[in-house]
């Protein structure tokens, strides 16, 4: 009996040696998934703008006969919302899904039956309620949700961060001097960073109408508890995804600047102020859309919407990052999601209906090897140009 326990322990040690497990790129306050994902929730919009936007529920249980297929759609009862990003509440029982165009916020229950999400609540009139528009990323803090908002109530001007309870009661708005894109929090330092992009009226217009004068170009450093901006880090225009290194007390992280094909690095100095500098070019024409992290802080993954590839950057030496591997031949890749064990990366390929240039919508899967090298799964290929009720744009993903 005891011998078996020892053998088991040894085996477990050998199997997990060196491995780091964490579901990356979600708020640190969220209860993380600690097992292989069984289901994906994918925030989806009909490609032709007709029919309700919906949450696709996709079977990711490898052993299931319906693996890799859409199990059901949970419709939200309205169309043209521009379904975009989502976030779990801290207790992982609810998903908040934001709409870039109508600013509606949808709350789904995924706690009662993870395979059958239910729409619990729709928050209408968000601009009137919050004084802000163009909600981008819902981000969990204890008992509450912070939502980065691009602009003022009429879709122009600077935005901010709106705060709600997990159930959907509005708490407060925190104004910002730029068009806020997304938040990332490092509780150890009581610091939150927000990145920035363009106003709602801009991002909902065709790309050739985007006026560069309206591009935001900074990260804001916030005192998290006080909800107060303490520093503005200026850099290249349109810093989108921003990721803080996962190690406890790590002082650095990265942002991708979409308009300049670059990766920038921020770092907190001893006195608490931040530096911000460009550390890599993703290659001309990449147009980076998303950035994700491996659980062990060894790699970041960048999707090149324009360049048609997913890049893996080796960040073992944080100031000198190095292009490690690519998955190429994938059109318009944008959102990605890395699994808790760092072995799989799902990606979708719709950016915004106003800027998508290819109708080849799909959800695909990349396997990441022990050497950080990536392989496109030749069998996993969920073709959203042939979605159940017509072509659809797949955007943000969450796993459960």
């Amino acid at each position: 009996m005891r011998r078996w326990a020892i053998v088991g322990m040894l085996l477990a040690t050998v199997l997990t040696a060196g491995a780091v497990f964490a579901e990356t790129c979600i708020s640190p306050y969220i209860k993380g998934l600690r097992q292989a994902e069984k289901v994906m929730y994918l925030w989806t919009l009909p490609a032709n703008g007709q029919g309700a936007d919906y949450l696709s529920v996709i079977d990711l249980n490898l052993a299931s006969p319906t693996y890799g297929r859409i199990l059901r759609k949970v419709e939200v009862g309205s169309t043209g919302n521009e379904a975009h990003h989502m976030g779990y509440t801290d207790d992982r029982t609810k998903i908040w899904a934001a709409s870039l165009n109508t600013s509606r916020l949808f709350i789904f229950d995924v706690g009662a039956d993870p395979m059958t999400p239910k729409l619990l609540r729709t928050i209408e009139d968000v601009p009137r309620l919050t004084g802000l528009s163009g909600p981008h990323t819902p981000y969990a803090i204890p008992g509450r949700i912070l939502i980065s908002m691009a602009s003022g109530p009429d879709g122009t001007g600077p935005g901010g961060v709106a705060e709600f309870t997990n159930d959907g009661e509005f708490v407060a708005s925190h104004k910002a001097p730029n068009h806020v894109y997304e938040s990332v929090i490092k509780p150890e330092f009581n610091r939150m960073l927000t990145s920035s992009w363009v106003a709602q009226r801009t991002f909902m217009s065709p790309l050739d109408k985007w006026d560069p004068k309206g591009f935001s170009n900074s990260l804001l450093v916030w005192d998290l508890k006080a909800r107060k901006i303490v520093q503005e880090l200026k850099g290249d225009p349109i810093p989108l995804a921003t990721r803080w290194a996962l190690k406890p007390n790590a002082t650095y992280g990265y942002a991708i600047t979409n308009a300049t094909d670059a990766i920038w690095m921020f770092r907190m100095q001893k006195g608490g102020t931040f530096t911000y500098k460009k550390v890599a070019s993703t290659g001309k024409g990449c147009a980076p859309g998303d950035m994700r992290q491996s659980p062990d802080d060894k790699y970041i993954y960048v999707s090149c919407i324009g360049g048609g590839e997913v890049q893996a950057w080796d960040i073992s030496n944080p100031d000198r990052i190095r292009l490690h591997d690519t998955v190429a031949g994938v059109v318009q890749p944008n959102m990605m999601h890395v699994t808790w064990d760092g072995k799989r990366l799902y990606f979708t390929n719709s950016a915004i209906s106003s800027i998508d240039f290819s109708p080849r919508y799909a959800l695909r899967l990349v396997h990441i090897g022990p050497d950080g090298r990536m392989k496109l799964d030749p069998f996993f290929d969920l073709d959203f140009s042939k979605a159940p009720d017509g072509p659809a744009r797949p955007h943000d993903m969450l796993l459960n």
């Binding site: 790309l207 001309k284 024409g285 147009a287 324009g306 031949g329 059109v331 240039f357």
Partner: protein, 403 residues
């Protein structure tokens, strides 16, 4: 200015490659593509030679709804003539193509509508015009096309060269010397005014089934020519059947490589200070490789070899040009032969027919290899143009050009 930045950041990215690198393995005089390729032209022979030969147009625009599919074919009007290689004119508005069994030569307009090439000129009897048979390589010179021919008019050695204006007027022809009668490929290096040609086997041999070939009826020579004078300067020897001639892409570099089909080897040629060239074997590809094609990365860092017989693609690191090192291999399927590397060096298209008299597999396709930042190769798991299921039945896919 700033609008430009935005466009480069997003939409412009779709169109612009924007690197300093250029499409390798084309005449240096050919205008290069400004952005990623949208169309792949594949010269093909109906597998049982019952339907006509054709030029296939494949959609390789990643953003297109019909990406990876056959868009159209251009009928060459006759069957079983073994169309093989082809080449752009210097201004990239036309493609020249002929066949190894027939006597016709076709000029396609690919500028008016790159998605729909049109035959704008046909030369019906190129052998009568040139005294040569079996045009192989179509190589652009300023305003002209230089063609290599595998045989004389009677199908026997010597082969030779013929020069035409871009619009198809015959300029002149000349034959290979007695010391190097076999002909195959040609490549020029204008900076040093040199041209090198390689050697295969003539019609009397290659039109027979492979089992009946006389393996001694082939060349082992590289000929060095004065490019401007088109005058033979030197005859070099290699292992049997040196096929592709690839000069280093570096400006002024006076060296390059060739693949010996029967020697399973890569040979290096280089010019000494005194001006004369020498050859040496620099890589053993392994017995039974039978290298059908040799391609380059745009940065001169890698050579790609298709092992037609062993069904393997090899990437050789040539950072040290005379000491190639095997860097990576990938298995693309059976009998890979022709390859085509893109201007950014990130993709390589592959076909798998060599000659109808030599092919040992009927599984014809066009496939795609991605080349990573470290020069390692990955097969694209989704790109697979199945040439066994065309409207006219199976066809042998051979040479490729991008537009």
């Amino acid at each position: 200015m700033k609008t430009r930045i935005a466009l480069a950041g997003l939409l412009g990215a779709v169109l612009a490659a924007g690197t300093a690198l250029a499409e390798p393995c084309l005449s240096p005089y050919v205008k290069r593509l400004a952005g990623p390729e949208k169309y792949l032209y594949v010269l093909a022979v109906d597998a049982d030679a019952k339907d006509h030969d054709f030029l296939a147009v494949i959609d390789v625009n990643l953003a297109s709804a019909t990406y990876g599919q056959l868009l159209t074919t251009v009928d060459l009007g006759s069957a079983g003539n073994e169309p093989h290689h082809m080449g752009f004119t210097d201004d990239r508005t036309k493609i020249w193509a002929g066949s190894l069994f027939g006597k016709q030569l076709f000029v396609f307009d690919v500028a008016t509508d790159p998605a729909k090439p049109k035959i704008v000129k046909t030369i019906d009897d190129i052998t009568a015009q040139t005294g040569l048979h079996g045009p192989h390589t179509y190589y652009a010179l300023p305003g002209r096309m230089l063609l290599t021919f595998l045989s004389s008019a009677d199908g026997n050695p010597p082969g030779g060269f013929a020069e035409f204006t871009n619009d198809g007027q015959f300029v002149r022809a000349w034959k290979n010397p007695a010391a190097g009668p076999y002909q195959y490929d040609v490549a020029v290096k204008p900076e040093i005014n040199r041209m090198i040609s390689s050697s295969f086997t003539p019609l009397r041999n290659y039109r027979k089934p492979l089992a009946q070939w006389d393996m001694k009826d082939g060349g082992n020579t590289l000929l060095v020519w004065d490019l401007k004078e088109q005058k033979l300067l030197q005859t070099l020897t290699t292992d049997p059947i040196p096929l592709e001639v690839r000069w280093s892409l570096k400006k002024g570099a006076a060296y390059g490589w060739t693949n010996s089909a029967l020697g399973d080897s890569i040979w290096f040629f280089t010019q000494a200070k005194a001006g004369s060239f020498a050859t040496k074997k620099v890589a053993d590809l392994g017995k039974g490789c039978l290298p059908g094609d040799l391609r380059q990365s745009p940065d001169d860092r890698y050579l790609y070899v298709s092992c037609w017989l062993r069904s393997e693609l090899q990437a050789w690191d040539v950072s040290k040009p005379d000491k190639p090192r095997l860097h990576d291999t990938v298995i693309p399927g059976v009998a890979p032969n022709m390859m085509h590397v893109t201007g950014d060096g990130k993709r390589m298209y592959v076909t798998n027919s060599l000659l109808s008299t030599m092919d040992y597999s009927g599984n014809f396709w066009v496939r795609l290899v991605h080349i990573g930042p470290d020069g390692r190769m990955k097969m694209d798991p989704f790109f697979n143009v199945d040439f066994t299921k065309l409207p006219t039945g199976p066809a042998r896919a051979h040479d490729m050009l991008l537009n």
